[in-house]
Amino acid sequence: MKFPNRAVAILIVMAALITLPWWSGDLYKLHLAALICTYWVLIGGLNLVVGYSGQLSIGHVGLLAIGAYCFAILAGTHGMHPAFAIAASGALCALCGLLLGLPSLRLPGFYFAMATLAFALIVTEITLAQGNLTGGGVGLPVPGFPPPFDTPRGTYWLILAIAVLVTWLAWNVARHTWGRGLVAVRDSAVTAQAVGVPVFRAKLTVFVFSGFTAGVAGALFAVLQSYITPDTFVFDLGLFFFVCIIIGGRGHIIGPAIGTIVLTALPEMVAPLAKLGNFFYGLLLLAVVLLVPEGIGRVFEILIEHFRPRRGESHVVKPDLERLARAIENGQSK
């Protein structure tokens, strides 16, 4: 989209989001909006891993759980100020992302996916086993935010602000050199190497970043739930995050964002879908993979292309040798 149009669109969307508590209706819908924003904090970071660098992590729910428990233990059991607890959750999960990514990111795709699945299951095991720390199967209560964020509106606005920040960070990475490098890692590692991208380090960097956002999301999630047990963090949730990105479209920011909104809200609004649960997500994923593997975001792109004025498409290569010489010399004088 051209500059003024995009800025206007963003302003409209931001205005709608900020004023949501007033037009959304009941408290339940407000809570749902806050939940969607929380999911997006995780998914926005995970998007760089799955959608851009192409690493199919299906077990990020494990990091969400670690972040949630970290917050509940620090802010609840130990009475730490929630702001510090959130930061600590993020930092801890960034570290976990590093420890998980170091051995597993070198593995081929299926192995890596299984490693992340195992990670999610292991986190559940450990939270159940370490009852002294985590409350075991009984779980832990979670304190709320301090004023002024202790009201439903205040909670929503805080989470919205964090979600917007994560979106901005991810968008910056995606549209600059890093973003292109990540896409190269995903689509052609040979090319990535040829232009000098440190493939493993790039994958690990975004994975650690996604760990940080997952940890922060975990803390926010814990507050929204107000009570967490190991059952809260089933593998199905990790699969859900992953599906939002694939359906929304890899290599996009907006697509997965819309995917998150739709896939979270849909089962809430359409009751039969809620009963189907994961079957619905699996079906959607299958449909997208078979029919529009680039995701729904791509479908919109194609539609927009259709309405753009068509000019005759040339495919003739005609070098401009003077410009070429100048461009090469320009590069050499750096």
Binding site: T191, V317, P319, L324, G331
Partner: protein
Amino acid sequence: MTLAARDITKRFGGLTALAQVSLELKPGEVHGLIGPNGSGKTTLLNLFSGYYRPDGGNIVIDETEISDATVQKRAGLGVARTFQKPRLLPTLSVLDNAMLGGWRDARAGFLATAFSLPQVKADERELRSRAEELLHGVGLSHAIGRRANLLEHAEQRFLEIARGLAQRPRFLLLDEPAGGLTPAEIEHLGAVIRVMRESGVGVLLVEHHTDFVFRISDRVTTLDVGAVIKHGTPDEVKRDPEVIRVYLGA
């Protein structure tokens, strides 16, 4: 200031792909590398760019040993390449594909990029304008905003060259760039390579189109079954009886 292979030997299992092959690439020079199928041309190119390690001999750049250096490290030292079958990022635009070559210049790290610091924005602007100029230069003005998977074969080849040039290379290794091009397009390719040479880039031209190679190269090396059978100026090589025998059959 040369990129050189010295007495390179490369084996794959029981097969010796290259035996004691030497080749020196100088800046501002076009060095042609020809030979029948299976003679080891692409293997040598892969050894230069770092996808293979030599079993014997070494690769040096300016007298620095780089035989064990990674592909990325060599890219950082100014070695760029194109591929026999063009490797592009199909979901990105032509411009983004060309800008990919600017990775080595990206001074800002991940966090600086995430926070969109002024340095990042400045680097991006500079890279964008340089990539655009390169794309105009190689002849892709008409396709700058197009998605890369919509390009035809010739356009893909020239895009790879633009991307390679975006790396600001000292040496550009071209892997059969004329493959699938029409005579007119090959003329354009020749003109582009000449400009590169005039600007001081050292070009290694691995090719099957021997006429084209002889026309445009300053020096030519001929391989056959993994060994150098002749090295010299195009005229010398063209007239060498061994070369003629290998190409025309005894």
